[in-house]
């Protein structure tokens, strides 16, 4: 129990840092769009909504408006990710206090599952929006809208469903615990 509490407290801090880092990472990513896309090891394609890591044909460099719109678009899944991190931080904060099977932990786990699912839907939407935003400066006939699902999106969708299912199992455990507490 002590080990769980100790580790949970550390993980809570890590998840809070993750929550704060999401918008920062996205802002930095879009601010240095060209440089990052030209540097393969730094290719944060998921931030830019580019499933294949390659930007669509662009007639010119990304403008400030494109970058701002791109940032707003990428914050659609980013906001869901931030919410997911907030749920994780809350969940591990409660684990850190020794609160394992309570209505609050069940609720946080369920919300995490939904956040993962919503983030995947938003990621698909962001992919389409990003392609439109990045080609908005192209001449007529050269605008691009892409829509796509990749294996990572599908895998994370399954993960979201599994987390929601786990929250149902945890809720049953909570009921058993509460029942047990009333056996004197």
């Amino acid at each position: 129990m002590d080990k769980i509490q100790r580790l949970s407290s550390r993980l809570r801090v890590l998840f809070l840092a993750g929550m704060v880092s999401v918008p920062v990472l996205h802002a930095v990513g879009w601010a240095f769009f060209e440089r990052i896309m030209a540097t393969p090891p730094l290719n944060f394609s998921s931030i830019f909504g580019l499933s294949w890591g390659e930007p669509p044909f662009m007639a010119g460099p990304a403008t400030l408006a494109m970058k701002l719109l791109g940032f707003c678009s990428s914050m659609l899944p980013g906001a869901a990710a931030m919410y997911g991190f907030a749920c994780l931080a809350g969940l591990f904060g409660r684990f850190g206090k020794g609160e394992m099977f309570s209505a609050a932990t069940v609720r946080l786990l369920r919300r995490l599952g939904w956040a993962v699912l919503v983030a995947q839907g938003m990621q698909v939407l962001h992919g389409s929006l990003a392609s439109l935003i990045l080609t908005m400066g192209n001449p007529p006939g050269r605008h691009v809208v892409t829509i796509g699902l990749d294996s990572a999106t599908l895998a994370e969708t399954v993960t979201g469903v599994v987390i929601i299912l786990a929250s149902w199992v945890m809720d049953e455990a909570r009921k058993l615990k509460e029942e047990q507490e009333l056996v004197i």
Binding site: L182, V183, I184
Partner: protein
């Protein structure tokens, strides 16, 4: 719940304080309060036996059945 716990009556008859009984039978005052107020879902035979020993009474002195709505099936308990 159609089972009524008459622990408070028996405590009054024996002139015993709740916390003294709780200490004597090895449960917390909070759990004894749950039992007294009828919020308990079940009582272990070992707890019942300890209460009967300390208060010098029979299980029937502590528990009473009154007809009323039955609890939901498989609600647990011993």
């Amino acid at each position: 719940m159609p089972i009524i716990v008459n622990l408070d009556v028996m405590l009054a008859r024996r002139k015993t304080a709740s916390k003294d009984l709780a200490a004597a039978i090895g449960i917390t005052a909070q759990n004894l309060s749950i039992l007294k107020t009828g919020r308990a879902r079940a009582i272990r035979f070992s707890t019942l036996a300890a209460i009967c020993r300390e208060l010098n009474c029979q299980p029937g002195d502590l528990l009473e059945y009154v007809s009323g709505p039955e609890p939901e099936a498989a609600e647990g308990g011993e």
